[in-house]
């Protein structure tokens, strides 16, 4: 029962945040001029690159790119945390 309540809380918060985003996104896009390239014709498909089965199995370049982004950010952040910890300890020792 408690778990169901927790799930409901998560879903309600998700709907609220999603609704907020939807409102902002639609307000922004309706405010922009209709002649812009944001509107897609009904018969238009995504670019040929997006079509399924275009060229068999492809190299998961996007996954590798995203893993690289996560790794680089992670390493930078870890080093920053370590540096901050070292700085804190040296300040304590100095005091």
């Amino acid at each position: 029962m408690k778990t169901i309540f927790n799930i409901l809380v998560i879903l309600v918060v998700a709907v609220l945040v999603g609704g907020l985003f939807y409102g902002v996104a639609t307000a922004t896009s309706s405010g922009a001029s209709q002649s812009s390239m944001s509107e897609r014709p009904a018969d238009d498909q995504f670019s040929p690159r997006d079509r399924e089965g275009a060229g068999g199995i492809q190299f998961p370049a996007d996954s590798v790119k995203n893993l690289a982004i996560i790794s680089i950010i992670g390493v930078i952040c870890l080093n920053a945390i370590k540096w901050l910890d070292r700085k804190k300890s040296t300040v304590k020792v100095a005091q």
């Binding site: 778990t3 927790n6 799930i7 998560i10 879903l11 918060v13 998700a14 945040v17 999603g18 985003f21 939807y22 996104a25 922004t28 896009s29 922009a32 390239m37 944001s38 509107e39 897609r40 009904a42 995504f46 690159r49 997006d50 399924e52 089965g53 199995i57 492809q58 190299f59 998961p60 370049a61 996007d62 996954s63 995203n66 893993l67 982004i69 996560i70 790794s71 680089i72 950010i73 992670g74 390493v75 930078i76 952040c77 870890l78 945390i81």
Partner: protein, 168 residues
């Protein structure tokens, strides 16, 4: 190592791997990409449920006595949650499989597609920070999991005493 921690670790590893796979729609194809995205949102709900006590604990004392690191982590997690919702929302708005599967049709708009890729990029940066913040926990879990199990030393003297007693 508690059972819940093992569940958390494997769920997180699975979610992370699925996220990387889902982030390559040209590799998986549109159908797998969309259904995997839906499954990932379910995994995020389970992830939140498993860490519910932490969420409630920090929320209740956010503006009183929380360490700076915890507060940063809290807002980082909120940002991750928000960007995840943005990805799901924009993904549903440009869906070609999941939404039609339920007999619905949504107006097509390219700005949702741009938002989808933008929020994905933001999520990847935030995910890097999230992994970095929890890196110590992750490495500790693996160390404990693969560390050789040593028999408790306390039992040895007691056994030797018993043997001595039996011999005399």
């Amino acid at each position: 190592m508690s059972k819940q921690n093992i569940t958390k670790l494997f769920l997180d590893l699975g979610t992370f791997t699925a996220l990387l796979i889902a982030s390559a729609p040209h590799f998986t194809g549109g159908t797998i990409h969309e259904w995997l995205g839906v499954a990932l949102s379910g995994a995020i709900v389970v992830h939140l449920l498993l860490n519910w006590n932490w969420v409630v604990g920090i929320t209740s004392r956010l503006f009183t006595k929380v360490a700076k690191g915890q507060r940063f982590n809290y807002f980082l997690n909120w940002s991750l949650f928000a960007s995840g919702i943005m990805i799901v929302l924009s993904g549903l708005m440009i869906s070609k499989t999941v939404v039609p599967f339920f007999g619905l049709s949504l107006p097509q708009n390219m700005s949702w597609r741009e938002l989808h890729s933008l929020s994905t990029n933001i999520l990847m940066v935030l995910m890097g920070l999230h992994v970095a913040v929890h890196w110590t926990w992750i490495t500790n879990m693996f160390k404990r999991m693969f560390a050789p199990r040593v028999a408790p030393r306390v039992a040895v003297p007691a056994l030797s005493m018993q043997r001595k007693g039996a011999q005399s």
